[in-house]
């Protein structure tokens, strides 16, 4: 059986204004693989993450996105989530008045398509909070509401672990975090990976701190909405030292 999860084929995506942000992009992510996307500001990294997730503000003008062989280019975001795609946002939304507990319960029921058994859910939530060194009280706080930057990123990882996604897209999950928070987030990501060896990751990151302990398979360089170069883990150090100058003219 084909082990490819995500297959993006010659993708062009624009904003409503017609401004082209993704311009002829190809990307394949297989089961259990860890991909990293690096690129200068404005290259289209966050847009790519959102286009994969089906953000209604972006329009696919050409090309296709396949998930395990099925064309999902026109699928609604929630249907993609149900298939196992998860996006950890750079700036997660705050939802006032809904507790993390109720939200996670609804999300879990929606993604797995059946009601969530109460006791098992409570246990899993407590264990996951514990793993992320989050106080139990977070379960009864409103979704990301009044959370610090670090707390919001931990909340995203909490959701990732609870929702049992097959592919986790992490958009700058480590940005703006202090050393301890990066460590916790990293442990969360490693845990996600260890939960199931078929779990895949697509990590958008600037920082080497998060990446150095992860078994990264591929590093892609995104410039002007297109992947201009793909290499192995060693590319991270090179970019860290020399920046993107070498890739800009490619």
């Amino acid at each position: 059986m084909d082990q490819t999860l995500l297959n993006i084929n010659n993708l062009y995506a624009t904003l409503e204004s017609g401004k082209e942000i993704i311009c002829g992009l190809d990307l394949k992510v297989g089961q259990g693989e860890i991909h990293v996307i690096m690129g200068p500001n404005g290259a289209g990294k966050s847009t790519l993450a959102n286009v994969i997730m089906g953000h209604p503000d972006y329009f696919v003008k050409d090309g296709n996105i396949y998930w395990q062989g099925e064309d999902i280019t026109d699928l609604a975001s929630n249907e993609r989530a149900k298939k196992g795609i998860f996006l950890s946002f750079q700036t997660p939304e705050e939802i006032d008045g809904i507790t993390m507990r109720d939200f996670l319960k609804s999300a879990k029921a929606a993604t797995c398509g059946k009601p969530v058994p109460m006791l098992a859910f409570r246990k899993e939530l407590e264990e996951t909070l514990n793993l992320l060194q989050m106080d139990k009280a977070y379960a009864d706080r409103y979704v990301n509401f009044g959370f610090s930057g670090g707390e919001k990123k931990k909340s995203e990882i909490l959701q990732l672990l609870m929702l049992d996604a097959k592919l986790a897209i992490l958009d700058e999950t480590d940005s703006g975090l202090d050393v301890d928070a990066v460590k916790t987030v990293k442990e969360g990501i490693i845990h996600y990976r260890n939960q199931d060896e078929t779990h895949s990751l697509l990590i958008i990151s600037h920082s080497t701190k998060l990446l150095k302990d992860l078994p990264v398979d591929y590093v892609h360089v995104l410039v002007n909405g297109k992947i201009v170069f793909t290499g192995g883990k060693e590319l991270i150090q090179k970019i860290d030292r020399e920046g993107f100058a070498d890739f800009l003219s490619m």
């Binding site: 609604a76 929630n78 149900k82 998860f86 997660p92 939304e93 809904i98 939200f103 993604t111 979704v143």
Partner: protein
Amino acid sequence: MEKKKTKIEEFERNIYDIYDSDNIGYQVKQGLTEDIVAEISKNKKDPAWMRDLRMKSLKIYNETELPNWGPSLHELNMDNIVTYVRPGTSMTDDWKELPDDIRTTFERLGIPEAEWKSLSGVGAQYDSEVVYHSMREQLLEQGVIYTDMETALREYEDIVKEYFMKLLPATEHKFMALHGAVWSGGSFVYVPEGVKVSMPLQSYFRLNAPGAGQFEHTLIICEKNSSLHFIEGCSAPRHNTINLHAGGVELYIKEGATLRYSTIENWSKNMLNLNTKRALVEKDGKIEWVSGTFGSHITMLYPMSILKGENAKSEYTGVSFASSNQYLDTGSKVVHAAPNTSSTVSSKSISKNGGNTTYRSSVTIMPQAKNSKCSVICESLMMDDISRSDTIPVMDVRNDKADIGHEAKIGRISEKSIYYLMTRGLSEEEAKALIVRGFVEPVTKELPLEYAVEMNRLIGLELEGSIG
């Protein structure tokens, strides 16, 4: 806890809408004339002073203009309204004695079950008369009185006479005058000094007859240092004719007493709901209004607190949800008439499918009300760009030692939040419902569990568009 929730969610969605075809024992002719008012009065065996009050109110009604602000009431034609419909049964304290379909209606609404589980007493009104009233033995021993207004007028005439429509004079506005002329039914509650009623009392008002009016009068007296939670529910099946509701609620809260008055209103969408509610709060007393307005074609409702004694408090928490062909004009009025009084107003409104919500409030700080505090927060959420929401707050501050805050937010439902929730697997509808539930959470958390669940369910039904 979970079990209860499931139970309520299993209710049929059209429970509010089932019409009992024929339960009319007696009714007056359509319209509003001296003869009709006299007939109602005679029928109810009013004492002379009450008959006079009705006749005077009718005169005031005829001399008073319709309000020249707010929603248009041009659809109301009093010539078509039947102001008094007596159900074909008399009042009982045993559900089993009620005619089958009336009993089934209240069972469907969950009233007997709630009574048994979590209420101290229940009154149930059907059209113009209360058909069921009962209270736990223990409250009786503590001297609490909870009965229908007609019984109160017979058995406690002195108390009723002292308070009846003193806070709600017929001169107040046209529909208060109408209420004075044709009032019928409602609840009377008297809580003696120092008595704390632990579980709520609930009165439920059901208007079944098409083209009828309901004009119940609720009078609650909380003596010194007593406390009570009173819950009011209302609903009606949908008809093609205009129905009218012009109830009156007057609450007397004595020194150090606390009263919470909660309402979940789900009138059918042919209803003009022109209700008047007022509380007079003495020294150290407190009124807490919790109000959910979902149904009706037009609602004009502004519960008022008069903070008469030093250190008196008022809290108003309200939510309204207007869908197509609904105009809900709601808010709160507060008069600070003594030093160190405080009030908070927190209002949330949601409009959808062309629905119209207006938040209208007035806060008056009298010259003598030094060091008074008031905080008003109103927020509106519009689900689309054909719906409408207005905010009309008025503040009248007549001394310079008052602390006043006002905050208003009007906005469309956030596309970003919808997207965020959808990326977690929720459908667009589920995402919107969750956001709306979060938006009204400050109100639901003030309600007992069963009612919070009912309110969330009503919100769910409104969002699906399956009510009315």
